[in-house]
Every structure is written in structure tokens, then in C-alpha cells.
Amino acid sequence: MDHLLELDGLSVSYRTADGPLPAVRGVDLVVDAGEVVGIAGESGCGKSTLASTVLRLQPKDAVVEGEVLVAGRDVLTMGWGDLRALRWAEASIVFQGALHSLNPVRRIETQIAEPIQLHEPGLSTAEVTARVGELLEQVGIPAARSRVYPHQLSGGQRQRVMIAMALACRPQLIVADEPTTALDVMVQAQILDLISGLVKDLGVGMLIISHDLSVLSDVCDRVAVMYAGRVVECGSAEQVFRAPAHPYAKALAQAFPRVGDPAARYAPAGLAGDPPDPHAPPPGCTFEPRCTLAVDACREAEPPLLDIGGRQSACIRVGAA
């Protein structure tokens, strides 16, 4: 059976004046129904670019290679008509920064109804209105508030509206790009609860992008850690968060200590240095310049993503062990 989402050797680079700028380099990833997969990484590691390719929404100056299969069909090569039919009906996106991702001068009901009317033109106005009301109730906003404008809602409520909108056409796959960034911690927890509840109830597949590994560990079944455009670690959420194998995954896990985890207090937190300049990547492992465990061999070749005990990691030390 086809996977809900399958990324196959996906590479994206941006055309710039200084030559192509790689953002995503050879990512393979699979999301199945009822499964929540997370992608973690620092800003600039290519995770948002990756999310945008799922519905072929990448900027015009991006060059994409590989395959993005949604329910078995390649999004990157299909015709515009097929693509428009697929967008939102089969896969939808919860964008980051709901304030800017919602049209500021349209009522939220109009914005939620828009994709429904587009993809299910047979529905009567009353049916659409009823569906919008249900959707709002489903994300915890009273249907009576459907006539407000985005600026009249709080940040958390706006994010709820975004989620309701993503559910509007009952898609099988939802991509959530930093869904909780810019929300305070309490609201963040509520939104995460909402998301995992919905995934469980509706049986959809979900791809969540976040820089915050602790957010992902709460809701995800599997997590992939990206660094400099590549997946460097991939495994169950528990494995990646509790016992990360790749030194970068370790550093990322330590950056977000969980309350009540005594180990986190003693581990050195933080990571020195910046991600590599994509125009001039280091010769071997891209993480080598920042790695505290680097050896000479790290500078020779980029280590491949290897299977080790039910998970994958791209570090020569892990492979050797």
C-alpha cells in the first residue's frame, strides 16, 4: 500500500547570485496514516523548505529534485489542475505564525469555508456554515465566534483557527510547520494536546516541524533530526529524545531539558558555533566543526545515514560502535 507521504531522495536548492544554495539534501522520509512524524532542527536547517515542497509551495527560485509522493502520486510532476485538487483536500498545512497566515481583513468563517467551497462545490451555503461551526467547536472555539476577524483573537485561538482550517476538507495528511512557536508555554501545551487528540480521533497522518525537540517528543511517534539540509538522526521519539545517538541530536535534546529529568541538569547545555555556510560546507561531516567528539576521520567524508538497532544515525562513531 502507498504511504500517506513519502519523500524520496528529496533535494532542494535555491538559485542565488553566488550559485545554487542547497537547503535540503537527499532526505528520505515516510508518514503513514495515524502516525505523527516530527522534524527537528535549528532554524536554517531546511525543515521549512521541506514542508513547503509537500504541496509544491516552495519559492519560485527553488530547484527541487527527488520525489514527493502524497498517497502514491508525485506532487512535483503532476499537472496544475491535479495539484490544485490535491492541495488542502488530501494534504493541508498549519502554517507558522497564524497572525500572518490568516487574511487580516476576512472573517475567520469565510477563510475556513473557502477551501470547502472550492473542493466541494456541491455543498449548500447552510451545509458549509454548519461544517465551519463544527470545525470551530472541534478545536475549542465556540461556533458563535465564527464572524470575528483574526486580530480579535488571541494567539492561541488564531492557531486553533489555523488547525480548524487545515481540517476543513478532511485531509488524510496534515503538515504543521512550527505550530506552537510564538505561543506561550501554557497555550503551547493546549495546542499540542489538541493536535494529538485530533490525530488520534481522525486517524490522519501528520508531519510536525519544530525547532523544539521537547514539543516533538510529546506528540510524535517518530522524529527525524535535520542538520544542514540532511537527516542526521531518525528513530522513535523516545529513542531520539532519551538516548540520542548523533552528537547533534544530543546537543539538541539537551537544549530543551524536560522538567523533572535529573540528567538534564548535569549535562552541558548549548552548542557552540553556527551551522555551516551552505555555500562552503566543510569537507567531511557537516557537523564536524561544532562537534566535541570529532576525530580526523570526520573530516574525510560525509557519513551516510546508517541503520542501527531500529533507528538511523549519520555519525561514523555510531556506525563503528
Binding site: 487580516p104 472541534q138 475549542g140 470575528v148 480579535q152 487528540g197
Partner: protein, 349 residues
């Protein structure tokens, strides 16, 4: 799901009041704009009054500049204009007269300025109204297409043309058009009348007379439209470019909308909002265009009236037309602001 709904309640603390809030804040917006317009109007009245009475020293002397007058004549003149009274008293009298529509008497025509204005109003309204309408539609359209195809051939061409038009005194463009299309250039005969509002033998009240007037107004309208549309087009282009960078358009595309629909439903309506405000702020240039274009085409409207009053100088006429032009611009601005308030919920609620 019920627990989630309950949880949602806890974060709803800073929720804006819904029932009475919007109306109240829109009321405040409205009141603010009306007060602002009244302030501007008062400001114009003060400028109008003091500029002519205080700035050039003895007003009686400057009002009679260029003419030889005896001391008795001067005194009589002062008394006639109430210039022997204290300034505050004079200002109040001026306000009262203005409110009653008494704008003084034209030296040149020896009729009340208000009558002159009513007489000369219609050609200006026709000229400015039609040109503004055409310019808005064409300008906004050009700006829209330019922004949508930013950097493309159409954009370069359209922006080049509009920037050149913007850099051009509109009356110079008018002179060129008169030379080319009215007088004719080289072997090419002229098509349009060179100026005026009617042919000598036409009866302005008959249908053929009206068509004749419309024919006379064609070239002035073309000139003014070209002059105005540059401004609107540039404003619309930059507003839409601002809008095109916004994320909600990506959302709209992700929903499966065609690019045309994204533009028509989301980008353009939103870009029109700032365009309204900016166009309102720049409404003063409409007045400038009316003055110069009526001058070069000899259209007997308010613009030509001001121009003729300049050389005499016919102070009461200048003051009257200034007051009228400012008042019109202030009112137009207020209307634009109110429309904006109605269209943009961020202001209304």
C-alpha cells in the same frame, strides 16, 4: 474534545469584548476623523484670514497695491472692510461672513465671489470628476498588473511610463498634446479644439451644444487622466508588492486556489486598502491639475478663475477659491478615511 473546549476557555482571557466594543471603537475612529477634518478646516480659515490681513503689513495698502489712493480713500477703505476694528473682532466677522457664504466681492468682475464660484463650478467638476474616475480605474489596473508581473516586460514598460508621467508637469504634457493633436504637427492635421468649453456658434443648453462641450473637454480629460493615473498606479503597485510578500497568500495557494483567484480574492482587495489612504492623502494634486489644465485649455472653471485672479491680484477671489479647494480636499479626505474605516475591520473593530 470537550476538555479541549474547556482548555480553550482559559486562554481566552485577553479576548476583546464583542458586542459593544467594535461599535464603540469605530465611533471613536469616526469622531477622531471628523474632529481632524474640522481642525484642518479651521486651520485653513485662520491661514486664509491672517495671511491676507497680517503678513504683508498694512492690509489696506496691500489690498490696494499698485493703485494710487488718497488718505481719505484709505480710511474709507479701512472702514468698509472693518479694518479699523481689533483683529479678533475682524476674525469673528470673517468667520460669520464665511459661514453665511459671503466670500467678498471680485474686483475684476464686481460680483460676489460666491456667485462667481457657483457659476464656474460645473466645468471643473466635470473635468476633475471624469479624469479622476478614469485615472483611478486605469491607474489601479496598471499598478496591479505591474506588481503581479514584477520585473517582467509589462512592469518595466508600465513603471517606466508612469514614472515619466509622474515626473512631468501635467500642463506641459497638455501643451504638447495641444501642439500635436489640436494644432497639428507637420503634415498631420489637428483633431481636437485648442481650448475653451464651447464652439462660438454652439448653444450650450442644446444637446449638440453639450456634445460640443464634451468634445472640447476630451483633450483636457485625457491630459488630466494621464497625469493622475501615474500617481495611482505607482501607489497601487507598491501596496500590492507589500501585500504579495504576506504569508496569507501562501495559505490561499495551499488551499488550492488558482493564482488568479489568489489575486482577485485576497491580494488585490487588501492592497486597495492602503491605496485608498494614500490616494486620499495625495488628493491635493487633483486640485493642482485642475488649475493648470484649465489654464492652458482656457476652460472657464474654478482653476482658470484662480489663475486669472493671480495677475490682478483679485484677493477675494483667490481667498474664496483657496477656501473652496481646501474644503473640498478636506471633505474628500474625510470621506476616503470613512470608507477605509468601513472596509478595514482592523480599524472598525
Amino acid at each position: 474534545m470537550t476538555t479541549l473546549a474547556a482548555a480553550a476557555g482559559t486562554e481566552a482571557a485577553p479576548e476583546p469584548a464583542e458586542a459593544s466594543g467594535p461599535r464603540r471603537s469605530f465611533g471613536r475612529y469616526l469622531a477622531g476623523k471628523v474632529l481632524g477634518a474640522l481642525g484642518s478646516l479651521l486651520f485653513v480659515l485662520v491661514v486664509n484670514f491672517f495671511l491676507f490681513r497680517v503678513l504683508p503689513g498694512d492690509p489696506a495698502r496691500s489690498l490696494t497695491r499698485g493703485r494710487v489712493v488718497s488718505k481719505e480713500q484709505m480710511d474709507a477703505f479701512r472702514e468698509q472692510y472693518g479694518l479699523d476694528q481689533p483683529l479678533a473682532q475682524q476674525f469673528l466677522t470673517y468667520l460669520k461672513n464665511t459661514a453665511q457664504g459671503d466670500l467678498g466681492v471680485s474686483i475684476r468682475y464686481n460680483v460676489p465671489v460666491s456667485e462667481l464660484i457657483v457659476d464656474r463650478m460645473w466645468p471643473t467638476i466635470a473635468l476633475v470628476g471624469v479624469s479622476t474616475l478614469l485615472a483611478t480605474v486605469i491607474g489601479v489596473y496598471l499598478g496591479m498588473v505591474s506588481a503581479w508581473r514584477r520585473g517582467g516586460g509589462f512592469d518595466r514598460f508600465s513603471t517606466g511610463i508612469t514614472l515619466t508621467l509622474y515626473s512631468m508637469p501635467e500642463w506641459w504634457l497638455g501643451l504638447l498634446l495641444i501642439a500635436g493633436l489640436s494644432v497639428g504637427f507637420g503634415p498631420l492635421p489637428g483633431i481636437f479644439p485648442t481650448g475653451g468649453l464651447n464652439s462660438i456658434d454652439a448653444d450650450p443648453s442644446s444637446l449638440s451644444g453639450m456634445l460640443d462641450s464634451a468634445w472640447h473637454l476630451t483633450l483636457p480629460v485625457i491630459t488630466l487622466t494621464l497625469a493622475y493615473l501615474a500617481e495611482y498606479s505607482l501607489i497601487m503597485r507598491s501596496s500590492l508588492l507589500d501585500e504579495l510578500g504576506e504569508n496569507y497568500l501562501t495559505t490561499a495557494r495551499a488551499k488550492g486556489l488558482r493564482d488568479v483567484e489568489v489575486r482577485r480574492r485576497h491580494a488585490v482587495p487588501n492592497a486597495l486598502l492602503p491605496t485608498t489612504t494614500l490616494a486620499a492623502l495625495n488628493i491635493g494634486f487633483v486640485v493642482s491639475g485642475a488649475i493648470t489644465i484649465e489654464t492652458i485649455f482656457s476652460i472657464p472653471g474654478l482653476g482658470l478663475l484662480s489663475y486669472e485672479a493671480l495677475s490682478i491680484p483679485d484677493y477675494d477671489v483667490l481667498q474664496g477659491t483657496f477656501l473652496l479647494a481646501s474644503g473640498a480636499v478636506i471633505v474628500a479626505n474625510l470621506v476616503a478615511n470613512l470608507i477605509y474605516g468601513v472596509l478595514d475591520p482592523r480599524v472598525r473593530t
